[in-house]
């Protein structure tokens, strides 16, 4: 039976697969030391999976980070992340992207896109596209769909996801990438983008 173990003293818990992809891509891009990254598969699972992951046999957890979307309310998402860090025995920092250091260790939380506004990882995608021409075409496609009334009645969130997926489909060479997280891993988004500055600094502070 192949049972997963923890190998590092830095533990990052992400809300989903896309956030996990972003974190893994940034760690590689910034040549940061390796750490354990665990996908909680949904905000509802963040708390039990964080506290359970802390208890996986392995090195003591010296640094703990949570990466999740703001969704409709960044302040509520931040409060939830602080509650999880406190449950795990850490003293949570007051704001997103900050790293608090105590005798227990370092901890912090990233609320995407920027810790202030409502939104999600797709907002970062929209602001960090590598291929400007492809992105212009995707925007033209959506304008065209809107004008021809061919586009379904979509919420803003769904439309952002649809734009990101159209962009990723257009970027594909041999295989279509459907997930934003994979897009970050495959280099379809600019990891040096200004909109990712807080995230880069957060990971650098947590993993150093």
């Amino acid at each position: 039976m192949n049972v997963k173990e923890r190998r590092h003293s830095v533990l990052l818990i992400t809300e989903g697969e896309d956030e996990e992809g972003l974190v893994r891509a940034l760690i590689k891009h910034l040549s940061l030391p390796d750490c354990d990254v665990i996908n909680a598969e949904g905000t509802g699972n963040l708390k039990p999976r964080t506290t359970a992951a802390m208890k996986i046999p392995g090195p003591p957890v010296h640094s703990l980070g949570i990466v999740r979307d703001a969704e409709a309310d960044a302040a509520r998402a931040a409060a939830s992340a602080r509650d999880i860090l406190t449950s795990a025995g850490f003293e949570a920092p007051a704001s997103a992207f900050q790293v608090a250091r105590t005798t227990k260790g370092a901890c912090g939380y990233a609320i995407l896109p920027d810790g202030q506004c409502a939104g999600s990882i797709e907002d970062i995608c929209l602001h960090s596209t590598c291929n400007v021409d492809t992105w212009r075409c995707v925007n033209l496609l959506f304008e065209c769909l809107e004008k021809s009334a061919a586009k379904g009645c979509q919420s803003e969130q769904v439309e952002r996801k649809a734009r990101v997926q159209a962009y990723l489909a257009a970027c594909a060479t041999d295989r279509v990438v459907h997930r934003a997280g994979l897009g970050f891993m495959k280099g379809h988004f600019d990891l040096d983008s200004a909109c990712l500055a807080p995230m880069r600094e957060f990971l650098q502070a947590l993993l150093k």
Binding site: M1, N2, V3, K4, E5, R6, I38, N45, K47, P48, R49, T51, A52, A53, K55, I56, P57
Partner: protein, 363 residues
């Protein structure tokens, strides 16, 4: 219910705090981390009126005879055989905070009062009564006290006389529940099970045991206690003759044995099951946990079970809907690297299920 337990200077432990025990608690951890010792410590707390209490666990571990000096005989229960440190067990039981202390007294003058004498080491015969000699003997003083009132509830002296362990003093006054320890090596004997079945039958409750057994072994039509020889439970499985229960297989005999143990400890009692899933096919393990949950519910008893097996722990997640909230805990004993210190890692139901669902190591 036993809700928390602390062990000091017992076997591998200098100090071990188990702050949260649940109606069903599973205990895991690597070899030699102290899982069985923790069960033995809990059993010792409840079985303190047995003069052989300090030696019973040696029989469970396969020792049939022990020799040596009194220091050696008593010493194996003490941390590092060091008799200078008292064994201290702190328990919160039904909301009462109690402390049981064992202290070694060389050449203690044993009072000449009626005593309860021990049965042969490792045997299950009934205790006898006699009178303690007035001669000095190496002894272990046993004191149970109430932490909140500072009242000394029980006091006894365990000593060796003519090759037997004996107990004098005023024990059994604290009115604690029964405990029963079972492991693949040490189970109730077939005769003991048959005797308990007889008592169950007298109470008119054997039907419940049969219904319970049939959930897992539908072929079982009825069970009977046969007094021939030492006594044995026989099962009617539709064959021309009834067959001895163990002939049905280890799983059936073990489940019935667990049932009868739960019947024995009754309400408020505690069932201590070492290596609970051992020898049972993985496909049967969810049934085993379901059976244990039914026993805990039906007899209002508590179950503390150890296991090494990931499959056995995985099977326990079948109880997720029944064991919500505080009804289940998983505890792992972690030996610290380069140290003999043991740390308790305690999982809630949600954490336990999250770890299993993700295939994370938790043993």
């Amino acid at each position: 219910m036993l809700s928390s337990f602390r062990v000091e200077w017992f076997k591998p432990f200098t100090a071990l705090d188990v702050p949260q025990l649940a109606p069903i608690t599973a205990i895991g951890g690597k070899n030699n981390c102290g899982k069985s010792s923790l069960l033995e410590a809990i059993f010792l707390f409840f079985d303190r009126t047995n003069p052989e209490l300090l030696l019973r666990s040696m029989a469970w571990r396969g020792f049939s005879k022990l020799g040596g000096t009194p220091e050696l005989l008593f010493g194996h229960a003490f941390h590092d055989y060091n008799l200078d440190h008292d064994i201290v067990l702190h328990a919160t039981y039904k909301g009462r905070r109690l402390t049981l202390r064992f202290s070694y007294h060389p050449q203690e003058r044993v009072p000449a009062v009626p005593i309860e004498a021990a049965q042969e080491f490792g045997s299950s015969s009934s205790p006898q009564y006699g009178h303690a000699p007035a001669a000095p003997s190496d002894a272990v003083k046993v004191i149970l006290s109430d932490d909140d009132t500072a009242e000394e509830l029980e006091q006894g002296l365990v000593y060796i006389d003519e090759g037997h362990f004996k107990l004098s003093g005023n024990m059994s006054r604290a009115d604690l529940a029964n405990a029963k320890y079972q492991s693949p090596r040490v189970r109730s004997s077939a005769a003991e099970d048959a005797q308990l079945f007889g008592l169950l039958d007298i109470e008119g409750s054997s039907g419940h045991l049969i219904d319970f057994t049939r959930q897992f072994f539908p072929d079982v039509r009825s069970l009977t206690s046969i007094a021939a020889g030492e006594g044995m439970i026989y099962a009617d499985v539709g064959l021309p003759k009834k067959i001895p229960l163990p002939a049905l297989g280890d799983g059936a005999a073990r489940l019935v044995s667990y049932y009868l143990a739960a019947f024995h400890v009754k309400s408020g009692g505690i069932l201590l099951l070492d290596e609970v899933g051992s020898g049972i096919h993985h496909s049967q393990l969810p049934r085993l946990w379901e059976g244990l949950a039914q026993l805990a519910e039906h007899f209002s008893c508590q179950i503390v079970a150890t296991t090494h097996s990931y499959e056995c722990l995985e099977a326990a997640t079948c109880l997720r809907n029944q064991l919500y909230g505080d009804k289940f805990r998983y505890i792992r004993l972690d030996q610290q690297p380069n140290s003999r210190e043991v740390q308790v890692v305690s999982y809630s139901v949600d954490e336990f299920c999250a770890a299993i669902e993700n295939g994370w190591e938790l043993r």
